[in-house]
Amino acid sequence: MAASNPENDLKTQVPGSNEAEQPQIQAIRMPSMEEIRAQEVWNNCAVRSVASGVMGGGLGFMMGIFLGALDNPIMQEQMSGRQQLIYNLKQMGTRSWSSAKTFAVMGVVFSAVECVVEKARAKHDTTNTVVAGCVTGGTMSAKAGPKAACVGCVGFAAFSVAIEKFFDRHT
């Protein structure tokens, strides 16, 4: 299969350019087994879901810190400056930890379901994203009853499809 023909590159070069400017055409190099194995690491569903969970946790942590810093204490006049600072820091800590856990769970579930579905179907589609989003939204809202689980499923699936279209808008 001729993916790209190096002879065509040579023919399209300007004939008058000197030899120092002509770029060296490299031959097509087959990857070694180490390179293949390094690329195959990211095909593993467990590795991908753990990495996605870690990223989600980091994102949740940052968001929790940011939103926790905006919170003002209730008894603002009666506390000194230092007490206000300690209260703010505690707020930021608890909020960031809880939001980090939520986002990490969301990332793990979404990534694991999408990986498993895509491997089973052997196709790269938006259907994988829809199913993964539905399962994630459903499990996150499952505590509030079946109706809330349905609403969460549809909502999160729509949200993840929108995010995926947004990230692929140039192709």
């Binding site: 087959m30 293949i36 195959e40």
Partner: protein, 113 residues
């Protein structure tokens, strides 16, 4: 395409390593003038035919599974997971069918109709 071929190489090495090694060993033994019951010209001819057959098989396999599995819009350079698992299944089916048909043709003499 580099990713596609590297996936094929991994599959080829995993599917039939013993067969390829045996073929290479037979090539080497023929080149080292070890008498195998047939003369040298015939041995070279057979090795050449076998090599051509292998190359043709690999090319056809790559072409078929590429047309079947890879989306032609080329959104990104790397093979994604769906394409990887599609290539796994396609190559394994192709190889199995190829070996089955080869056995039937070599054993039967004429295909059972």
């Amino acid at each position: 395409m580099g990713g596609f071929f590297c996936h094929f190489l991994a599959l080829r090495n995993s599917l039939n390593p013993n067969k390829n090694k045996a073929f290479l060993r037979s090539e080497v033994s023929m080149a080292a003038n070890i008498p195998a019951g047939i003369d040298k010209e015939q041995a070279f001819g057979m090795a050449e035919t076998e090599m051509e057959y292998r190359v043709e098989l690999f090319n056809r396999l790559a072409q078929t599974c590429f047309n079947k599995c890879v989306d032609k819009r080329y959104k990104e350079a790397e093979l994604n997971m769906g394409e990887n698992s599609c290539i796994d299944r396609c190559v394994s089916k192709y190889w199995q069918v190829n070996s089955m048909i080869g056995q039937m043709l070599s054993a039967g003499g004429r295909p059972p109709m």
